[in-house]
Symmetry: C2
Subunit: 342 residues, 2 copies
């Protein structure tokens, strides 16, 4: 039996869902993998931080933060000055990073993940930023320290995309992919089919917490482009920045256009694609009209689908229904177990 020490950088919806999942799966993890774990540190944006090498009571930490209280009472260390100080002071084998991230540069997440790897921790993130801006650098740094940099939840939440290619599809070459990867716009298009105006559809997505106050990252296709970049960079091995993706959002798709499509048994979808062409790649995010025989037609609301065309299988698609913080949390749990069980 081995014991793994876990640290949380970020304890928002995703971090707390991961905390609850760890508590629920503690016995399965012991039974299936002969692994126990201890939480040695939790750093939050608004509820202070706690470090205790002997173990923090995770259930109590969840209660404190959900009740609006500080974690300081659980700490046997002085409060860290900042995120980097927290990581350096916290003795851990795995860092779970789920902080709000800057998509233009991937900071401060990249610096946190680097520091964790330099301190021999496996670095697990739910953020796309570090993947599109520092995949090669963080992967090489991880290898140098005998650790893993894993990020299953960065695209399609906990659905196993990266780990499937890594662990289940050996020697497969990815030629092309195509799919619906942005939940907010897919939900908005469904709402417009049901009668919402564009503005009502935005307001609905905001009301359930999946669209930002400024929804342009979703509506203009940026979030989808970041996901395309992450998939191309990791699965095709070709570094691609979001700005290099040919990108059209859904501002041109009116409720009238959506209703017209409906009358013809068709639907508008914000379609992501990339295709390898020699050592280069063509990539695009743009609205497309799809019919009932397209696998994208039935991908409704917050669900996602991606179809991979490889040089060994025909087309293989992965569909994820109704994701949420709990599925993102599962992707992080899977990364942790996949990193330490090797």
């Amino acid at each position: 039996m081995s014991e793994v020490r876990l640290a949380f950088m970020g304890f928002g919806n995703v971090g707390r869902a991961l905390g609850s999942l760890l508590l629920r799966k503690r016995e399965d993890i012991l039974k299936d993998f002969d692994i126990t774990f201890r939480v040695t540190g939790i750093a939050t944006g608004r509820h202070g931080a706690a470090i205790d090498p002997h173990g923090i009571d995770l259930a109590q930490a969840l209660v404190l933060v959900e009740g609006g209280d500080s974690l300081k009472t659980l700490s046997d260390h002085p409060a860290p000055r900042d995120g980097l100080d927290f990581i350096r002071a916290c003795p851990a084998d795995v860092l779970f990073e789920s902080i709000p991230v800057n998509y233009d540069r991937g900071q401060p997440a990249i610096d946190y993940l680097k520091t964790a790897l330099e301190h021999q921790m496996h670095a697990v993130t739910a953020n796309k930023g570090p993947v599109v801006h520092a995949y090669r650098e963080l992967t090489d740094l991880a290898a140098l320290h005998g650790c893993k940099f894993y990020f299953e939840s960065a695209v399609m939440d906990g659905a196993p995309l990266f780990s499937m290619f890594r662990a289940a599809l050996p020697a497969a070459g990815l030629r092309r992919f195509r799919g619906v990867l942005n939940s907010t716009t897919n939900l908005m298009l469904k709402r417009m089919e049901e009668g919402d105006s564009f503005e009502q559809a935005v307001a609905h997505a905001q009301s359930i917490g999946i669209a930002e106050t400024d929804p342009s990252g979703d509506i203009d296709g940026w979030d989808a482009a970041v996901k395309v970049s992450a998939l191309v960079t990791v699965l095709m091995g070709l570094p691609l920045k979001p700005a290099q993706v040919d990108r059209t959002g859904i501002r041109g798709i009116t409720p009238e256009a959506v209703q017209q499509a409906r009358a013809e048994h068709k639907r508008w979808k914000l379609v992501c694609m990339a295709e390898r062409q020699g050592q280069d790649v063509v990539s695009r995010v743009a609205p497309e009209l799809v019919g009932t025989d397209s696998p994208l037609y039935g991908v409704q609301g917050t669900s996602s689908l991606v179809t991979f065309e490889t040089d060994v299988l025909g087309e293989l698609s992965i569909v994820e229904e109704n994701p949420g913080p709990h599925t993102t949390a599962y992707g992080m749990l899977a990364d942790f177990l996949n990193a330490v069980r090797q």
Copy 2:
């Protein structure tokens, strides 16, 4: 760099597709996994057998068999008396088994796989029979000898179902699955939608080589029930025999019923499902009418889909388009690489 010795028991469409794939992927396998391979034995039903510890020319073996010739000229051993004798005489690290199999008992494949494991070979099969009739026994025997018993291609060809749960979804508990898993009936239903009679649809499936001379295994839902058994046995850990699956085939689905459904924008599908209920399982194969919003609606022709509901993700679906001997062969290649790279 390590060299792996490979033996083929069965060199029909699937075995030969695997041979071609190995030749095509030789350099990728060396580059990605630092593995080289040598074919030390090939046993066929109608073209004799060859054993050569120094290595058989795989390209030449393909030419001989495809030209209707015997493999005997490639052998430096006396002809084996039978399949078991071949396995005992062939020095190998991996046995690829793809022979015609008896679904009632899984023989002679089970005996071949056992013998391979007892001789310290990883046992890779494309057959469902050994999975539903001897999964526990073969898995335990493999563990005893430090080997793997893998069978990715037994359900949905090369699509990574078993390896996904094994390697990419740690600590996930499977509660329920539902899908279209029999290609022949799915193609027949599509042909009837396009105007075929039931008999014409059967004849078409036979003409392209996916239905047997006696098509009742597909039409009466037996093939689907065997797949349900395999998934329940392996992924839910509950041994289930095909005869225990509540089973209705598609004999009751007339072309008129298919056309009527079409007029309502619906389709008949032969749906497989199983659901865990405590330590028991409810399982069923039966035709169902699905609408355009069902993910099953767009699964046409020989394509397959399965939706998994786990206790950690919502619903996760895998869709495979246009399978064939090449995708079955890839599942076997993946099993080989996943077995030896560990």
